[in-house]
């Protein structure tokens, strides 16, 4: 790689213009080439002067409480000996050595994913394939559509709210499906905000025609029993588009 090409890539990496496979392969190049890593590190450090110009915002009350709740039961990665940092590869979960500080930051940003917290799942996945089934979830009382579920073959679903739900403090929206009576309701995850959200459900058979999906209101951070305990806000049944 010519020096210009290196500088161009370092620039795109630091500007946040590299994604997915390209970013991963560039991170691998940095691991193999300390001079390249240093070039990127220098540019990133220089550019952070721009971050420091941001006028600090007010910190919302209770924001720390939410973080404290989330880390309360969250184990930390084991300490590692200096100079022998082991990162977990997202795909394989195998420990491997890495030296790049950029890898640290990238891995830190995805570390939550590795532990399988559903509401962050998919944050760094590539564009999804076609859904295998759809469900329109209706409001129980007036049968108005409240949300659309697109279910994918990889056990993930994309959930799009079609209206705002009233979520009191201390409550959270939780998404469920009923693969069959014997299995019972299975949680697909919770919605931390009311926006289109991709959730990674557990390993389940492909959805079948008529499979039930519903959203209930549960105590935050999710049903304490692993089964729906709160009121059903909307529910609907899986349908396949005629072409599929």
């Amino acid at each position: 790689m010519s020096r210009d090409e290196q500088m161009a890539k370092a620039g795109r990496f630091v500007l946040g213009l590299m994604e997915g496979l390209e970013a991963q392969s560039f991170e691998a190049e940095m691991q193999a080439d300390p001079a390249l890593a240093a070039m990127v590190g220098k540019l990133a450090k220089t550019m952070q002067a721009l971050d420091d110009t941001a006028e600090p915002a007010a910190i919302p009350k209770r924001m720390w409480d939410k973080i404290e709740t989330r880390i309360a039961a969250l184990p930390q990665e084991a300490p590692v000996a200096a100079g022998n940092v082991v990162a977990f590869d997202r795909a394989g979960g195998k420990p491997r050595r890495t030296v790049s500080p950029w890898r640290f930051a990238a891995m830190a940003a995805t570390a939550v994913l590795a532990l399988g917290l559903g509401y962050l799942a998919g944050a760094r996945l590539a564009a999804p394939p076609e859904p295998v089934a759809f469900a329109v979830l209706l409001n129980e009382s007036d049968a108005m559509p409240g949300a659309i579920v697109q279910a994918y073959a990889d056990d993930s679903v994309m959930l799009r709210p079609l209206r705002g739900f009233d979520v009191p403090d201390g409550k959270i929206l939780q998404v469920w499906t009923l693969p069959d009576r014997e299995t019972g309701p299975v949680s697909l995850g919770t919605l931390s905000r009311q926006a289109a959200t991709r959730l990674q459900g557990p390993d389940l058979p492909l959805p079948h025609e008529g499979q039930l999906y519903e959203i209930t209101l549960e105590p935050s951070p999710g049903s304490p029993t692993g089964r729906p305990t709160g009121p059903i806000l909307v529910k609907g049944y899986a349908r396949f588009s005629p072409s599929s």
Partner: protein, 184 residues
């Protein structure tokens, strides 16, 4: 002597304490850094709730991955900033981006350009970055600032600057090379 006074209260010292499992050290880092990090994330995600989400997720990641922090490789503030920036970029590079793009009007795009330029203008005159950015042609400078400060991608920079995509890619490529030549 109360143990409190023994603790290194600098961000780096606090982050090392977090790596030893000290939640109160993370709480103190949050107090001193969260306001700045929310502001940085907000320039990228353009929404208060998403900015708070990026910072919240960032502190959770920092807790989990604290053992990876190595003060010899960079400061705790820089480390936290990189984590939060990545999280903010991930948030807007997903479906959420589509939604707020639909709602985004001309004024909001103007805000981005203004934020990007204000960030450069607020740099210290002694900062080499400021003088090196100043040496770039206006379009290259603006494209680089829009990407870094407000998290736009090539296509969004093209739309904001009303320039062809290929031209924008070339501005950014030549701009980052010239910037690094100037800084070295």
């Amino acid at each position: 002597m109360p143990q409190e006074t023994m603790l290194d209260q600098t961000p780096d010292g606090l982050m090392l304490a977090v790596a030893r499992g000290d939640r109160s050290a993370l709480a103190r880092l949050f107090e001193t850094e969260a306001g700045r990090l929310i502001a940085i994330a907000r320039r990228i995600v353009r929404r208060q709730d998403l900015a708070e989400e990026a910072v919240q997720d960032g502190f959770v990641s920092a807790w989990q991955s604290a053992a990876r922090f190595d003060p010899q490789r960079g400061t705790a503030r820089a480390w936290l900033t990189t984590i939060v920036r990545n999280r903010a970029l991930n948030l807007i590079r997903n479906d959420a981006r589509l939604e707020f793009h639909d709602a985004e009007d001309v004024a909001a795009i103007g805000d981005r350009a203004a934020d990007a330029m204000a960030a450069m203008n607020q740099l210290s005159d002694r900062d080499a970055l400021k003088s090196c950015l100043g040496e770039l042609d206006e379009p290259k400078r603006q494209a680089i600032l829009l990407c870094y400060v407000t998290g736009l991608d090539h296509g969004e920079v093209a739309a904001t600057m009303k320039a062809p995509l290929g031209t924008v890619k070339s501005w950014i490529r030549r701009g980052v090379i010239a910037l690094q030549e100037c800084l070295s």
